[in-house]
């Protein structure tokens, strides 16, 4: 983000001249390439990004992004053993996608117009909405950002977050002092040391910091949302079939959730499908597979191993994770969120 974003910008500017030429050379039938190679090359990080990709004590990757990489691999190969999670820095993700080192970028990547149009990248449907929010000391009894008037906000300097907050404060004419730090670890340390009244960051990061605070219950995340960023998978421009495949891998998790199918009850549901949609989804009646060039049980395999959208969320950032991030807008529309899956017919 901060330093990384600057390096990214500088390096991308440097590579921009070369990348577009090669962009189309590497495009083509990605699915066939992946099947022929016998491996799906997907992203992991050059460090942890809490809840999205992080390494456990045994050096294994976990997180929402990792789960979606695995899901695509399972859809293609039937198991996630053939998913190669390649450590990639932020700066490197798009050039590596263009050069063909990666088949897919799922790395907390926001869908922006410049990436979509100028970088030769195609985005999937969003799988996560990330909000920039504020965390405050509960003892202040602040219910919204308005109550912080006259107070201070700690944040990491030189980031898009810092600019967003400055704009937000100015637009609303609040008298709030912004205290910038080099890294967000320093900013959060300052906040926990009571140097500031609040700490502003991306929602999932706030949740992660709160989880590791000495007294997690003493901190609240305000409902105000400064900005919302849709996170989506990025693919090379020009391979529509591959984009379709990734979109449908994301979609089946949501369709499964709508129909109450989880990794635990999926076998009962398959034995006894309660609707035509469920029958199609789980491959009882044919159709879901060959339209994408996959086998008919691909969605069954994905949900069986990875789970539906709710399970992915809860396990990695939600209530079954240390972060306990409210699902909010990431829920389907029936539960107060904004996500609506496409229709499986």
């Amino acid at each position: 983000m901060n330093v990384k974003a600057l390096t990214t910008a500088a390096l991308l500017a440097g590579t921009a001249a070369i990348v577009p030429m090669a962009a189309y050379a590497a495009a083509g039938d990605t699915l066939k390439t992946v099947q022929a190679r016998g491996e799906l090359n997907c992203t992991s990080g050059d460090g942890n990004f809490q809840g999205f990709f992080e390494i456990d004590d045994k050096g294994k990757w976990h997180g929402i992004d990792i789960d979606y990489c695995r899901a695509v691999g399972i859809a293609i190969f039937g198991s996630d053993e053939k998913v190669k999670l390649i450590p990639i820095s932020w700066a490197q993700r798009f050039p590596s996608l263009q050069s063909g080192d990666l088949d897919l970028v799922i790395k907390a990547t926001g869908w922006t117009m410049s990436r979509d149009t100028e970088l030769g990248v195609q985005f999937s449907t969003p799988y996560f909405l990330g909000a920039t929010q504020f965390m405050v000391h509960k003892e202040l009894n602040a219910g919204s950002v308005k109550d912080l008037d006259g107070g201070t906000i700690c944040t990491a300097g030189g980031t898009s977050t810092e600019r967003l907050i400055a704009d937000y404060i100015k637009a609303n004419d609040y008298d709030i002092k912004l205290v910038s730090f080099e890294k967000n670890t320093e900013a959060s340390a300052a906040y926990f040391a009571n140097r500031c009244d609040s700490f502003a960051e991306w929602g999932p990061v706030l949740a992660a910091r709160r989880a590791s605070a000495p007294n997690p219950d003493e901190h609240a995340i305000l409902p105000d949302v400064l900005a919302m960023e849709p996170e989506a998978a990025a693919m090379r421009q020009g391979d529509d079939a591959w984009v379709d495949l990734v979109n449908w891998v994301i979609a089946v998790g949501r369709i499964a959730e709508e129909n109450g199918i989880t990794s635990k009850n999926i076998d009962e549901q398959k034995a006894n499908p309660k609707s035509a949609t469920v029958a199609k989804l789980l491959g009882v009646t044919p159709g879901i597979g060959n339209r994408l060039g996959l086998s008919d049980d691909w969605a069954y395999n994905v949900i069986k191993v990875i789970g539906n959208a709710e399970e992915i969320y809860d396990r990695n950032v939600g209530k079954d994770s240390p972060y306990k991030l409210e699902r909010g807008m990431n829920a389907p529309w029936q539960k107060g969120g904004v996500f609506v899956p496409p229709i499986l017919d």
Binding site: T7, L11, G14, T15, I18, V19, M21, A22, G45, D46, G47, N48, Q50, G51, E54, I55, D56, D57, K58, G59, K60, K84, I86, P87, I88, S89, A91, Q92, P95, S96, S99, D101, T185, A208, R209, A211, S212, A213, P214, N215, S321, P322, Y323
Partner: protein, 364 residues
Amino acid sequence: MSNVAIVSGEIPPPRHDTFLAAVRKGYFATPGAAAVTSVCLALIALAVWTVFRWAVLDAVWSSGGPDMCQQATGACWAVIAARWRLIFFGLYPYDEQWRSALACAAILATVVVSCFPFSWSAKRLPLVWIAGYGVFYGLMRGGFLGLPTVLETQWGGLSLTLFVFSTVVVTGMPIAVCLALLRRSRLPVIARTVAVLIDGIRSLPLVAILFTAAIIIPYALPHFLVGDKLYRVIAGFSLFFAVYQAEIIRGGMQALPAGQEEAAHALGLNYWQTMSRIVLPQAFRHALPPTINQVVITFMETSLIVIIGFFEVMASGNAAFSTAEWSATYVEVYVFVAAIYFAFTFTLSRYGAYLERRLNVARH
């Protein structure tokens, strides 16, 4: 004292102050000096005590886990106990990490062996390194004798840092010597071209070179020439090291009196004999302090390879604390990683001091 000597007409024996007397004279001579000394001592004691209390007395050691650390006021060394394998081995598969440890030991042994004067011959040194790298590569990569293959993208931690560092220095040094000799060539075309090359590469940032090696080279070269990202990056890194080192060696050569080379010619030595027996050994002696400096800097700079997605020891350290349980323990992890770096660079600089002493003995 001098009066006494004059009176008695004898030279008094040299007087050594006792330790206490020396301290009194040096630090407590006047009330002002005494005050300054006391204040400084108190500050140092306070700092040492604070660090000691944080690092030892109030610290949470291995057992207990993150919950106990949240309550503790001191250091949380439990994070090291829980995550040390990640710091040392990065993403290397958990069950195979003994191989990474052995490979690390192999590289270290190679470095140590080649640091002894015994191995300094044109035959022994390459042999030692080929053997060392053979063992390292075999262990890390596997794929024979039932060892599962571990690709370079999964290498990480300390063994990756050591591998990158030693390869950069070992391949960069001969290139540096060649560049230094070429730059002093009597043919202006060669000397100028090499000068432009050296100055050109020196004016590029290392990060840009690494990024180019990792990302842009695959576009420019035919596929069979590309090779693994790790080796491209090491190649770029050694070139960067070589151009700096070439200038250091050239500096060492220019410190030599011209008479040395002229005398060699007068004796009938040809170019190679002059260089290998007369010029370069003396140039290296002059260039030793900046060379050690450059090597230490290179060791530190290996952490830059994180920019293209390698889990060297610093990046692994970052990954070790940035999880939900441990994210408050970054100071402890950084202290631990700093201790690793310190152990290596301090050893390197002590070795440099040893070399200087040895070479000086040879001179007198």
